[in-house]
Symmetry: C2
Subunit: 143 residues, 2 copies
């Protein structure tokens, strides 16, 4: 785009997971499993559902389901309101699952960072790597 004032950046983290998409989908959409790899939540797999993700230290994200296609795609807002523009965040997280052999290629894109939000971008990159590593463990439970 030519209007750089509206330019945003995305963090993309991808991971090959040795479990079928159905197992990953379960970990992405069942609240008691989401809590194990991400945060406590009142998520429901329903378009337009508003929910929160709550960190144990008191922080909370405001979210809304934007797209949902079972075993393939899940997208929701990931918003954090703060007076300081360095921390204020309106972003969209999209998970895309693609079968690959006996497992799944999982792609996570968090879109909407402003270019000057370097701390938030760095934190998200590191955070999502950790989150997805835990998600892999949760998805494999019961195997």
């Amino acid at each position: 785009m030519t209007d750089t004032a509206n330019e945003t950046l995305s963090v993309v983290v991808e991971r090959e997971i040795p479990h079928a998409p159905e197992k990953i989908w379960r970990a992405l959409t069942q609240p008691h499993l989401i809590e194990e790899w991400l945060m406590k939540t009142d998520f429901q797999p329903r378009l337009g559902h508003r929910f929160s993700l709550r960190g144990e230290w008191g922080g909370v994200l405001d979210c809304e389901v934007l797209a949902i296609e079972p075993n393939r795609t899940l997208s929701y807002t990931w918003n954090f309101a703060h007076d300081d523009p360095a921390f204020d965040l309106k972003s969209v997280v999209t998970f895309t699952l693609t079968p690959k052999g006996a497992g799944t290629h999982l792609r996570m894109e968090q879109a909407g960072f402003r270019p000057e939000q370097t701390q938030a971008i760095g934190g998200a990159r590191h955070g999502w790597q950790q989150f997805l590593a835990k998600l892999e463990q949760v998805a494999g439970q019961g195997d």
Copy 2:
């Protein structure tokens, strides 16, 4: 107090740590160590210093140093502003170190929860247990 409208609750987590208070103090007050067990921060061990604690998922706490006595006591605000009263939090975290044998008794009190903030209280209790377990590891580095 008689005015129950102003009643607040505290979460207290205590831990016996097999390291001298000086080592725990270092982990409580050096930003690169705080980052290892708690969150990224621009903390400085100076009365009245305002700083933030930043979660990797984009959340941020607003803090201010209220009391500081090297190797003994550190207290700071731990505030999170949110439109939803269930999440809005104005609290004070106080660490108290007491020498015990070759180690230290560490007491953490987070004061200021409203009685109806049951989710935040439960999250803090669980979160601080995890944080202090990591703090013990960080304090012991280099031994």
